[in-house]
């Protein structure tokens, strides 16, 4: 059975580079647009890489800034200085410290 990992963001300028980074790094991600929000779904996992966001943003980006734009999620979450992920895979896409 399908297990979608999911992230939902505000549809605004702060979230746009993060959404673009997800589209770039996660092949097969599905986009559901609703008024005011964007829901991104992908089988198994979604990873946000700091460097990909920074390329688009043109400034340093702390993955914890995601708190300002993230509305909802599905999956087991992992976060460190370089990436943020939600996943149903075991082990997760990058190891826990």
């Amino acid at each position: 059975m399908s297990q979608l990992a999911s992230l939902t963001f505000y549809h605004n300028d702060d979230a746009r580079p993060v959404i673009e980074a997800i589209l770039a790094d996660n092949p097969g991600v599905q986009v559901l647009n609703m008024p005011g929000v964007v829901k991104l779904d992908r089988e198994g996992d979604i990873v946000i890489k700091r460097t990909t966001v920074e390329e688009r943003l043109g400034r340093p980006w702390d993955p914890q800034e995601i708190h300002l734009i993230l509305i909802s999620m599905a999956g087991n979450l992992d976060e460190d200085d370089d990436a943020f992920s939600v996943s149903w895979k075991h082990p997760p896409p990058f190891n826990r410290g």
């Binding site: 999911s6 939902t8 609703m34 929000v37 509305i71 909802s72």
Partner: protein, 504 residues
């Protein structure tokens, strides 16, 4: 050379662990008296993981930023008379139901997490519960501040707090949180942290708030998403708490499973109000309840319970019934409020032809067959001057406290009734789910404050409808009855006329 900056994981470990101590003046069991009676066994509190790794200093920084953004929007909305730009005057009624029914529950959640934070002896969950307690208080405050602007113009809002403790349908969310808060701290964490926050609140805060955006309510969508941005942290806490309990000891599984079953069903019943808000109360609907249930329960819940199966946990009991009810629940709930509009603190209406067509499209299996004929009949009766009011007080379900208006699984033409005997009394239920919950804890649920029983016992201001409305502080002829003919409608029509004049 300066010292190397600590990584996020190290920083989190330093800022959250080793902050507690073994007590010496009093035994630990006396300091934490509530974390053993529920039967949950914890071998190692330090195994708790908080994947967001949010420390208090970062928490304040992000929350302050969220507040600045939110209040800028609220101010702009008020300064620009945003209330005149909503899709229709009817829209304000979802805010009335939200503020009277849901915002006080945010306050209950604040108190519940403060309690859980105090009484769980592991430092990881205590930090997380403390943050969530503060979040919930913020949600209440921002909701009051946002909706207070509507209170300047629309009826049915000003007595929300007084009403929450008294009005019949508000006892549904109130008793839900009373039940959770009078449980032990572990059950509370599964009830609110897991079942409600992870499995169910998306249904309220994502598609419904998206609906607020679609209906021109910039201020509500902003508080909704601002609250929901805390919610993703809460969801993570919920999933962490259940994994932690299941990993700690095999004996925890049956206890946790019983709570998951109970709180899924209770949450499903409470969210029936949201189903009705989405399908009937948004003048411009955005997504049907059934579609939202498919995305947020069937898909998201399916993935979650598939993951948790490795601990032996199965999906909640009666999830199949809840999914089947997604075809019916909004229609049945709005029909209850239509019949009892004289005792509700918001306005009701019969959906217009265009809206009914939308419902037919979204509910091809049920709307035209079971629900459209009833709305059309009530519409004809209203035209003939015989608008239907149900003047009998309804029998309430002892567990969820909703009037017994729901139908049998698989037979939408027969009302479902269940009952149990306890200490010589008969108790009534709307469903097998609610009956099971009572049967597992009859001593608790036999004490329920049921609004209809309280009216009959003479505890609600008197025996007539005006007496009871007075007790509710519900202004007859303004707060209640149909939207058509209400002071709200008159005001809305004046605003529209003004706009036309300005346009000319």
């Amino acid at each position: 050379m300066s010292a190397k900056k600590l990584g996020l994981k190290q920083r989190y470990a330093h800022m959250t662990r080793g902050l507690d101590w073994e007590t010496s003046y009093q035994p630990m069991d006396k300091v934490f008296p509530y974390d053993s009676f529920e039967g949950i066994k914890i071998k190692d509190w330090s195994a708790w993981e908080d994947p967001f790794r949010l420390t208090m200093d970062t928490y304040w920084k992000f929350q302050a930023e969220k507040e600045r953004k939110l209040y800028a929007v609220i101010d702009a909305f008020a300064q620009n008379n945003g209330q005149t730009g909503i899709s229709d005057g009817r829209y304000a009624n979802v805010l009335k139901l939200f503020l009277t029914g849901i915002s006080p529950a945010e306050y209950q959640a604040h108190r519940g997490f403060a309690f859980a934070g105090r009484h769980l002896r592991g430092v990881g969950p205590r930090v997380a519960a403390q943050m969530q307690s503060l979040d919930e208080l913020r949600h209440l405050q921002t909701q009051i501040h946002t909706i207070s602007h509507y209170n300047k113009h629309f009826d049915g809002i000003s007595e929300f707090s007084h009403m929450h403790d008294r009005v019949w349908y508000l006892s549904v969310p109130k008793s839900f949180f009373d039940d959770a808060r009078s449980a032990g701290p572990f059950e509370y964490m599964i009830a609110i942290g897991f079942a409600f926050e992870y499995v169910l609140t998306n249904l309220l805060f994502v598609p419904f708030m998206s609906g607020a955006a679609y209906n021109g309510d910039m201020s509500t969508v902003t508080f909704g998403f601002s609250a929901q941005s805390d919610e993703s942290r809460h969801m993570t806490l919920g999933i962490e708490v259940i994994k932690f309990l299941l990993e700690q000891h095999p004996d925890n599984l049956p206890i946790v499973q019983k709570w998951v079953d109970k709180w899924f069903w209770r949450g499903h019943r409470v969210l029936g109000l949201v189903a009705m808000m989405m399908d009937y109360m948004l003048p411009k609907p955005v997504m049907s309840w059934k579609e939202a249930w498919e995305i947020y329960y069937t898909q998201a819940g399916g993935a979650l319970f598939q993951d948790l199966a490795r601990y032996g946990l199965r999906p909640p009991k009666y999830a199949d019934i809840a999914t089947a009810e997604a075809e019916h629940i909004s229609h049945q709930n709005w029909a209850i409020f239509y019949q009892y509009t004289h005792a509700a603190a918001f306005h009701t209406w019969i959906p217009d032809a265009k809206h009914m067509d939308w419902l037919s499209e979204k509910y091809p299996n049920t709307f035209d067959k079971y629900y459209r004929p009833r709305w059309e009949m009530w519409g004809r009766m209203a035209k003939e001057g015989k608008r239907f009011y149900n003047m009998a007080l309804p029998q309430l379900c002892q567990t969820c406290q909703i009037p017994m208006g729901y139908t049998e699984p698989g037979d939408p033409t027969t009302i479902a009734f269940r009952s149990s005997r306890f200490r010589g009394e008969t108790y009534h239920f709307c469903s097998d789910g609610c009956k099971d919950i009572f049967d597992a804890e009859p001593e608790k649920f036999a004490q329920s404050w049921l609004p209809v029983h309280q009216i009959f016992q003479g505890n609600c201001g008197g025996a007539t409808i005006p007496d009871v409305l007075n007790y509710y502080r519900l202004a007859n002829g303004a707060d209640n009855l149909d939207y058509v003919g209400s002071p709200d409608e008159k005001l809305w029509n004046e605003w529209q006329a003004d706009k036309l004049k300005t346009a000319v």
